[in-house]
Symmetry: C2
């Protein structure tokens, strides 16, 4: 059988021609890219492969921006909290910030653009009552209230691009490399410059087939502290998109004026965990529209030169919002992003309105992994098998790697493994792409962000772990590779359009009062009534952690009636709690040997059953962690947390099927072994058995008619069979 080729991107570098050709052949690659810190020589560019060239729109041109420092990108920052101990308070508002990264903007009148807030009284201090010392970078309040806390929200110029800063500091580039100063394409000179420069680039790089924008205009919020370490990071943050010009344009467009506090948000800076305010949503909309309009200009130039435009999902991606309503207008050919697992793969693969998507797999070919004595294959297997589940549902169109190819080349076992991976990818792709896989259920993930942040919930910095998120991220990771159709809906969607009629189960997962749980939204009668009706008529509702939580009218979980459980916060202690008996056998825990060994991650305290109809599936330490409850023709299911694992994948899938009242369908295209997943493609007449582990796994497989067969799969094997 002839070796398949294509759909793979290779990083390369100078003076590595022969090996590049060899790997191009072995991995079947059809594209070559440069990386941060590597350049391609002409001989490599002449190989039979598309050439990707990384392109920075809004930085890497200090010669230009140094002539137009009034066009440097800006941020709204909040000072530390400062306590007045008398009636005069001087605030060192720059305290804790990194002066190489930011500098206060005194160009725009602070009396107009800054805000001093009494955080104790929650009032804005009259701008007549404070003065700034521009030499000392201090602000003095003349008539402070003793023992009130004050903060200053102030505008700064961002004089160092955060990604370059990170690389610069991490790699000790010292004085040899200048600090990239980012410029704001909303400003006239910058706007013209970005177009002219791109045009010149296209002229001067005829061998570049794909301009890989890294990325467009505004970096996600990334601020360093006075020790040159990360102080604040929000992969979704719009902090670096602000400016007086932007605020003025916003006012013209939306009809009202923003305050600094709309961005500063009490120091939380509208992290995605905050229930977004109308002003912030308007601002996201406003910036997204602007970014789409300006990015389209660049894409048009690229197309003019017969090249393709690819966007990197990260860095200066703010405002692109690939799931937003303006993304299509940009006209991009492709999006590429880093794959941390199944959920991040789907975040890339599901992006609409592009010709193709590409996933950059791990590990990077960097010395932190590729060093003597270490086996980079281990991380590669882990990354591949985790992401493969998601490829089986909706594949990216290409895969690729990054870093120093010369490093990887020193690890023959790794090179062999990637050869196998690339072949496997192409085989998967040829079956799965464009073929609707069998799905047993359609689920809707419900939160304050909805579709706009598809596959992007509970994320702080891209794919970085946090104690507070893994118990919820499990839901997405499980769903990314499961035989379910997944949509993301917002509270607004439900209120305006009702629950989509083809949805089987709604999932609401998160800590109380976060955007993912929903906070005050749950006070809205239209929302809760719509969901109650949906479940009552036969739908399913699965809550994780503190679903629907908002203290109101005798309930903490506003859909406690649906879930059959609520959280004891002290107010209901006087009411006797009699329902603590765990049911003997249940569909949801049918594969669980000992429910007390289940892993609920951070779990949740003080959950109790509302009535005798609540089916308690796990009860420990005087509280429920897993339960189900009938509600009309439908059902609610509660889970205290669901970190990603094979065991929890099975548990969660059973919970979804049970909530949907579709237990009978569960054993369709299913496996008795939780480590083997079955994906069927009826249109293609094939199905695949996938071993997610490094060990041999036997299983009973159930086909589309639930007929059994016995199989034994090799470690990590994917076995294709005809239906």
């Amino acid at each position: 059988m002839e070796k398949k080729k294509g759909r793979v991107t290779l990083p390369s570098e100078n003076n590595f021609l022969a090996e590049t050709k060899e790997l191009l052949e072995r991995w079947g690659a059809d594209a070559i890219r440069d990386s941060d810190g590597t350049k391609l020589d002409e001989a490599v560019k002449d190989l039979d492969a598309k050439i990707y060239t990384t392109y920075f729109v809004a930085r890497n041109h200090n010669d230009f921006i140094e002539e137009h420092m009034e066009e440097v990108q800006q941020l709204y920052l909040m000072s530390q909290f400062n306590t007045a101990t008398s009636t005069e308070l001087t605030i060192d508002f720059m305290k804790g910030y990194f002066t190489e990264q930011i500098t206060p903007d005194y160009r725009h009148d602070p009396k107009v653009w800054w805000e001093v807030i009494d955080r104790t009284a929650a009032t804005v201090v009259d701008s007549q009552s404070w003065e700034i010392d521009q030499n000392k970078h201090t602000l003095t309040i003349k008539a402070a209230e003793p023992f009130h806390e004050y903060t200053v929200s102030f505008l700064v110029y961002k004089i160092w691009d955060p990604t370059q800063m990170y690389n610069h500091i991490t790699n000790n580039w010292g004085d040899s490399v200048p600090h990239d100063i980012p410029f704001d394409v909303r400003q006239p000179h910058s706007n013209k410059y970005m177009a002219d420069t791109l045009r010149a680039f296209c002229e001067n790089n005829p061998k570049t087939d794909v301009v890989r924008f890294t990325t467009f205009f505004y970096h996600f919020t990334l601020v360093f502290n006075d020790l040159a370490k990360e102080k604040f990071v929000d992969w979704f943050g719009y902090g670096a998109s602000v400016s007086p010009a932007a605020f003025q344009a916003f006012e013209a467009e939306k009809g009202y004026r923003l305050r600094p506090e709309d961005i500063v948000d009490q120091g939380y800076y509208n992290t995605a965990f905050r229930v977004p305010t109308k002003a912030y949503l308007d601002y996201v909309d406003f910036i997204s529209r602007f970014v789409a309009k300006e990015a389209k200009k660049l894409v048009d130039i690229v197309h003019e030169y017969g090249k393709e435009a690819m966007m990197f999902l990260g860095d200066n991606w703010i405002g692109t919002e690939p799931y937003g309503k303006y993304f299509q207008e940009i006209g991009l050919d492709a999006v590429v992003g880093s794959v941390g697992g199944g959920a991040t793969l789907r975040m890339i693969a599901d992006i609409p309105h592009v010709k193709y998507t590409e996933g950059r797999f791990l590990p990077y070919f960097f010395p932190d992994t590729f060093y003597e004595g270490n086996d980079p294959t281990i991380e590669a297997i882990e990354n591949w098998t985790t992401a493969r589940r998601a490829l089986m549902r909706n594949p990216v169109d290409r895969i690729g790697y990054g870093g120093y190819l010369s490093l990887a080349y020193k690890f023959p076992k790794f090179v062999d493994y990637i050869e196998q991976v690339t072949d496997e990818f192409r085989t998967i792709y040829d079956v799965v792409k464009g073929s609707k896989p069998y799905t047993g259920l359609k689920v809707a993930v419900l939160n304050a962000w909805g579709k706009l942040r598809s596959w992007q919930t509970h994320m702080v910095a891209h794919a970085l772990p946090y104690k507070q998120i893994y118990s919820y991220l499990g839901t997405l990771e499980i769903l990314s590779g499961a035989a379910v159709e997944v949509v993301f809906i917002s509270f607004e969607d439900v209120i305006n359009e009702g629950v989509p009629t083809d949805v089987d189960v709604i999932i609401n997962a998160g800590d109380a009062e976060t955007a993912f749980s929903g906070g005050e939204h749950w006070k809205n009668p239209a929302l809760v009534a719509a969901i109650r009706q949906f479940v009552y008529q036969g739908g399913g509702f699965v809550g994780v952690g503190e679903p629907t939580a908002y203290q109101h009218q005798g309930r903490y979980f506003q859909l406690a009636d649906v879930l059959g459980v609520d959280k004891e916060r002290g107010f209901a202690l006087s009411t006797d709690k009699y329902y603590t008996q765990v049911v003997d056998h249940h569909f949801i825990t049918a594969d669980v040997a000992d429910p007390n060994q289940l892993d609920f991650g951070e779990s949740m305290h003080n959950i109790y059953a509302l009535d005798e109809k609540t089916e308690i599936l796990q009860y420990a330490n005087g509280e429920i962690h897993l339960s189900a409850h009938p509600y009309g023709q439908g059902r609610g299911v509660y889970l205290a947390g669901i970190p990603y694992s094979a065991e929890n994948t099975r548990l969660f899938m059973r919970a979804l099927y049970y909530a949907a009242n579709k237990e009978a369908a569960f054993m369709t295209w299913q496996s008795s072994n939780i480590h083997i997943e079955v994906h069927a493609y009826p249109e293609k007449g094939v199905y695949a058995l996938v071993n997610n582990t490094n060990t041999i796994q036997p299983a009973t497989i159930y086909d589309g008619q639930q007929k059994e067969q016995q199989v034994t799969l090799e470690p990590n094997e994917i076995r294709w069979k005809t239906i």
Copy 2:
């Protein structure tokens, strides 16, 4: 040395004269009481001892109340939540209630006195929109909103006294004993009857020296379910004090009308964990004033007959509020209450405005403890040593026991032990009473209830354990026997009068948004500013659990600046948390071998340090459970929870001394061994070493000049020494 006598009360019963005399002698008792279910015969009453006779004011007279059923006591109850699935909804509002205990009040117009609430929309349904079927006990809403939840707040008559009901059901009294129907002394016939009946009682019981009121008018809220089991219990609940007459009198007195919802409170019924509303505080004030006025009439009658009036702290005690402003007016001679440990002992002993207090110790002489093969001494030792710590600080004036003396008599070892206890009590009393013990600190427990609920925080039903309270109750139990002066202050106190100048440390302990933590009170600038000033000038602030918690202006803990820690709720995840390093040595943990073995009870998740000044004393699972923080001249200390134990007593005491900046004084009248406590009485020139364990304990003792001496104490020993 002659055996001391007195200060002890014995239960007795019929046909037990000789043994009663023997125990009277051996235990040095000088009073004899009857109990529920026991009566004293004349011979016993003639012994050389005061005779206590239990007296019920508002029940036990069905012959009277059956003629005046319109004067039966009432309750406001809330139905279950009921979901409308169409535009008509019929609610079985009595569902889940015990029809032998309550019956709906149709005598007062439900359209006036009841309330139907749309809990989804948080609106009251117009009384024109619903109708009642008095035969079926149902209420029908004609124009319901589909998938909204509705509740009915309805008035009932309480046709069975809860305490008698409990005893009746528990002991299977069946048809032989009628159900006591409680009557409301606010009503004219009942009011006259209670006085006449007491007068007759006094006439007919010349040998009664002490009328033991059990108790006055209104029982704490205790409602049973349709299975005749406890449904709702609140030892502080005013639920059973309501009536249309009371509401009308309230309106006349306070100038505004209460709603049923002011009592029903979303179904939480104003449990003490709810931050009390102004209306509820007004209502407590209103009922307390009435109870004091009416109780005084009874006490006056008792005094007229030359007898003493003693009140039982429990049962129908609602409105007496021993720490409230009307209690003194009642003119009681004594209060007696059940002792569960140190905190409950102090709750009795600290009551002002009575001649004496009495603690009823455990175990009761009941068959559940006094059965063959069991050693009741074990419980007695546990109860005595736990409460003894508190006696050393402020003793009750008398101790006593309850139940069947004949049962106890069968356990000679128990009789011997109580002989020893009674002797020990009299010795303690003679030294401690009226002599101010050495105290190293003055602490103020700060919550929404303040002095009114001294020693009564975090309590649901008297001394019953709950998962949600023990981590906080530890603070009171520790303080009850510690060398500190304890006051209870409310947020109102701080706002109106500031922090008392002689207070060293403020303690705020509780779950977020409970009355004990404070909830919305923490939004009040006057409150937080006053406490900041207090700490800044050198005071201490100790927070336990979720102190000062209320999400507001960028903080969850409103005094995060003082405590140096806050709780991560997801909103600040984007901010890097660098402060995780545990300090090597610290005053607070000086006696702790391994901080990771500390017991924080239910503990608290996601606590993080605000800045580098936070001294982290224990850090596990990515979160802080114990820390300290400087603030001006003062300090804040944070604890995730502090269940009562010897280890935690030491830890908490060190935390208090550290917060107060008085570490140097800690080793004054102190012991090296955490199981031995030292109590000094400088006015009397003596001090006591108390072994709180059942085992021999060696220790180094530090006297008033911190001079050392070595001692070894016998199990449970109390050793007196001269200064």
